[in-house]
Amino acid sequence: MAFEGLAERLQGSMKKIKGKGKVTEQDVKDMMREVRLALLEADVNFKVVKQFIKDVKERAVGQEVMDSLTPGQQVIKVVNEELTELMGGEQSRLNTAQKPPTVVMMVGLQGAGKTTTTGKLALHLRKKHNRKPLMAAADIYRPAAIKQLETLGKQLDMPVFSMGDQVSPVEIAEKAVAEAKEEHHDYVLIDTAGRLHVDDDLMGELDQIKAAVKPDEVLLVVDSMTGQDAVNVAESFNERLGITGIVMTKLDGDTRGGAAISVKAVTGKPIKFAGMGEKSDALEPFHPERMASRILGMGDMLSLIEKA
C-alpha cells in the first residue's frame, strides 16, 4: 500500500520502448498516465496536474533517446526539471522593511503550525541573522493560544507582546509594532488565530490587521499533508490578503507533500521555509529540487540521472 514512486510506476512503459531511437507520442502518452497518477497520489491538485502534464508532454515528444538514459529516465528527468522550476528558486530570506521594524504576519488554517513557526522564525532571525525579534500574541480565540506563545517565548528567552484575550487582534498588532519601535526590535512576528478561508468575518479581521500594520511579509503557513483543498485555501488567502510567501510545515513526516506544488502554482508566491519538526530549531530553507524528488518518490533514481 505504500506509495509507488514514479520510477516503479514507469517500469512497464519503459520496457516497451527500450531500444527505440525516439520517444514517440504514444510512449509519452503512456508514461504521462503514470506521471499523472504519481502526482495525484502525492496530493498535487488535479487541475494543476492537468496543466502540468500538458506542458511536459510538449517537451517530451520527439526527444532523441540519449545513450546514457532509458526513455523512462529521460521522461523522469523532464518531469523533475519542470516540477523544480514550478516550485521556484531557493529563497529563505524574509523581506525587510526600509525602516525597522520589519513586520511579519503569520496566517493560515487551524492547526497548520503558525504559532510553532513564529517561535522558529524568531529563533532563526536571532541565531542566523543576529536580529532582535518581538513576537506578538494576536490569537485571542483558541484556548491557551497566548499561553502557548508565551511558553515558547520563555523556552527561547524571546520577548512576547500580549494584551490578553479581551483586546481586538488589530489593536494588539498595532501596539506590538509601536512597542517594537520603542524597544528597538528589528522584527515583529504577529501570530494570528487559525481560520477557514471561507470565514468572511475572520478573513476580514486579517484584512484589518494588514491595513493597520502594513506588514512587509504575510506568510501563509500550510500543512504539507494537505490534500486537494490546498489550492482553494491558498487562492483565497492570496486573493483576500495578498500573501508574500509560504511556509510548508510538518515535512518531517512521510507525506509526499504535493500541496507545495499546488500552492505555488495558484499563488505564484515563493515557498520560503520548511518546518521539519516540533522543536524550535526545526526550520530549514525550502529546497525546490529536493521537494520535487520527494513528490515523485525517487531520491536514488534522480541522483543516477544527474550523473548521466
Binding site: 499561553k147 523556552q155 477557514l196 490534500g227 486537494q228 483543498d229
Partner: protein, 305 residues
C-alpha cells in the same frame, strides 16, 4: 437503506442532463472523487470497474449507469447503523484514548465530547496526556473549565504514561463514568513517539483490562492521501476503533475516509464542524455523501435554471 437512497438522489442530480457515457464522463467522475481526496487507488479501481461494466452491459446513458455507481460507492460506506456508536460501559468507567498527528483537533474534540457526555448526565474526567507541546495542558484546562469537568494533570515535560496512571486511579476513586485521554500530536513515522503511545495505551489496559474502550483517531478533513498512512500506522500501534473527522466546516471533503474504510475497515464515528463546543456531531453517512457531490449539484442547478 437510507444512505443508499440519498446517494441515489445525489447521483440523480449529478446526471440530470442524460449524458452519454463516454470517456469524458468517466474522467469527470474521477475528477469529482479525486477532488474530494478519495484515495487515488480507490477511485481508479472504482471507475475502472464502472468502465468495464458499462461496456459489458452496453450502457450508453448516464442514467442507466447511475444505479451501478450508487451501489459501488455505498459499498464503501457505513455497513451497519451501530458502528458509529461509541462502546460505552453503562455501569463502569469508560476510557477513551485520542490519538493522531499534530494539530488535527484532538484536544478540541475532547473538549466538545466532555460537554456532550456531561449533558447526558455522566461524570467526566480529562487526562492531560500531552505534556510536550507548549500550552497543551493549559488548553485542555480551558476546555475542562468550560464543561465543568476535572482535569488530571502533571507538570509539562513529565511522562505521559505516568499521567495516564494517575488519571485512571483518580477516575476510579471518584467513580467517574468517562475518562477522556488527550495525547500529544505525533507524526506516524516517528518510531519512538509511536512506542510512547503504545506504552500509554498499555498503562490503561493494565489498570482496566478492557480499557481503552475506544481508541479514536482524529483526522483533519483537509489532509490528503497521507491520512491513509496515518490510519495504518496508528492502527498498528493502538488498534484504532473509530475515526473523528474534523474541520469539515471548511471546503475540504475528507474523502480519504472512503479509502480507509475500503482498505482498513475503520468506521468514522464523529465529525467536527467548527471550533465551538457544540460543533461535534455523530457521523451521518447520508449527509456526508451529499457533501461529496454538493458542488456538482449546485453547478448543475445553476446551469439548468
Amino acid at each position: 437503506s437510507k444512505t443508499r437512497e440519498s446517494f441515489v438522489g445525489a447521483m440523480n442530480e449529478l446526471m440530470m442532463d442524460y449524458r452519454t457515457v463516454d470517456e469524458e464522463f468517466f474522467e469527470e467522475l474521477e475528477d469529482i472523487l479525486i477532488a474530494s481526496d478519495v484515495g487515488v487507488n480507490t477511485v481508479m479501481e472504482l471507475v475502472d470497474e464502472l468502465r468495464e461494466e458499462a461496456l459489458r452491459q452496453n450502457i450508453k446513458k448516464s442514467v442507466d449507469l447511475q444505479p451501478l455507481i450508487s451501489e459501488k460507492l455505498s459499498e464503501l460506506l457505513v455497513r451497519d447503523e451501530q458502528e458509529t456508536k461509541l462502546n460505552m460501559q453503562e455501569d463502569s468507567l469508560t476510557v477513551i484514548l485520542f490519538v493522531g498527528v499534530n494539530g488535527v483537533g484532538k484536544t478540541t474534540t475532547i473538549g466538545k465530547m466532555a460537554q456532550k457526555f456531561k449533558n447526558e448526565g455522566r461524570r467526566v474526567m480529562l487526562a492531560a496526556g500531552d505534556t510536550f507541546r507548549a500550552g497543551a495542558i493549559e488548553q485542555l484546562e480551558v476546555w475542562g473549565e468550560r464543561a465543568g469537568v476535572e482535569v488530571v494533570k502533571q507538570q509539562a515535560g513529565s511522562d505521559p504514561a505516568a499521567v495516564m496512571y494517575d488519571a485512571i486511579q483518580s477516575a476510579k476513586s471518584r467513580k467517574a463514568d468517562v475518562l477522556l485521554c488527550d495525547t500529544a500530536g505525533r507524526l506516524q513515522n516517528k518510531v519512538n513517539l509511536m512506542k510512547e503511545l503504545e506504552k500509554v495505551k498499555r498503562v490503561l489496559t493494565r489498570e482496566i483490562p478492557e480499557a481503552p474502550h475506544e481508541v479514536l483517531l482524529v483526522l483533519d478533513a483537509t489532509t490528503g492521501q497521507n491520512a491513509m498512512t496515518q490510519a495504518k500506522m496508528f492502527g498498528e500501534a493502538t488498534d484504532v476503533s473509530g475515526i473523528v473527522l474534523t474541520k469539515l466546516d471548511g471546503t475540504a471533503k475528507g474523502g480519504i475516509v472512503l479509502a480507509i474504510r475500503n482498505e482498513l475497515d475503520i468506521p468514522v464515528k464523529f465529525v467536527g464542524l467548527g471550533e465551538k463546543v457544540e460543533d461535534l456531531h455523530e457521523f451521518d453517512p447520508d449527509q456526508y455523501v451529499h457533501g461529496l457531490f454538493a458542488d456538482v449539484i449546485e453547478r448543475e442547478e445553476q446551469e439548468s435554471s
